[in-house]
Amino acid sequence: MPDSTNPSNPGKKVSCMEMLQHILDGDATAEQQQHFKDHLDECMPCFKTYNLEVALKTLIKTKCNGNGAPQELIERIKSQISQNMPR
């Protein structure tokens, strides 16, 4: 992981955003996670963006789940499957 502790250097911001996305999507190693946790204390843009992204992700999970599959659909699939089975 590149050093990303200097947000005033534009070249470093790139790795900030990239790192943030990996963390957010559970694609980071334990070591990267620790590094990022430390980094949040030092980089305000990351801190703000991270909180916003986490809030958004949480909201998507709670607001976009729908009402579940219709019971008729579940029954229809089950009956079609059992009809396809040789008895």
Partner: protein, 194 residues
């Protein structure tokens, strides 16, 4: 998924795999289908087709592997083949899916989105869902797979048949579009941002 290793399931085992490993994902599958088609009948058909197809090809499914990713992949392919063509959604444009994406100027702009956590949390109605639905289908899809269903980049790459780098840049762009939508809503709702 990669290799055609056929499993030898007894009829009883097939049913067991189907019920134990496929059926638990039906709510996620239906939600995905509905958010792709925006039509209850189409969503029903799409899910049913997917499950029947999965059962027909059950011998290429290895017990205990990622059934959910496999099902999502089948559904997504059925959607592209059977529904997307006839839907009124126009073929989509420029995704700016350059792998060098993170080097672009846009990155700076995204570091300070004009949207605040408090504003988001005030959106207690359908705003988030509507904003998601308003995205182009490819952007909508990556948000659903990642944020809603928790798939990892690698799984998404397999489901969508695209490289991992493309998954990441598409997801990045999708989230920014979603935030743009939400800050539009916020403005309409009269919030003062930033």
């Amino acid at each position: 998924m990669e290799e055609e290793i056929r499993q030898n399931y007894s009829e009883e085992e097939k049913l067991k795999v189907f019920h134990d490993e496929f059926m638990p994902h039906i709510n996620s599958m239906y939600n995905f289908a509905y958010r792709l088609t925006f039509d209850e009948d189409d969503a029903n058909d799409l899910v049913q087709d997917t499950y029947l197809k999965a059962f027909r090809f059950i011998e290429s499914f290895e017990k205990g592997t990622n059934a959910k990713a496999w099902l999502f992949r089948i559904l997504k392919n059925s959607f592209i083949n059977d529904y997307r063509k006839k839907s009124k959604e126009p073929a989509k444009i420029d995704y700016q899916e350059v792998e060098t994406y993170y080097n672009s100027d846009e990155v700076d702009r995204q570091i300070t989105p004009d949207l605040r956590v408090e504003t988001l949390q005030d959106m207690i109605g359908d705003e988030i869902s509507n904003a998601l639905n308003a995205l182009d289908v490819d952007f909508r899809t990556v948000i659903i797979l990642s944020d809603l269903e928790g798939f990892k980049y690698e799984e998404m790459a397999k489901i969508l048949d695209i490289p991992i780098g493309t998954v990441r840049s598409r997801l990045h762009r999708a989230r920014n579009l979603l935030k743009e939508k939400l800050s539009e809503y916020a403005k309409q709702m009269g919030y003062k941002n930033s």
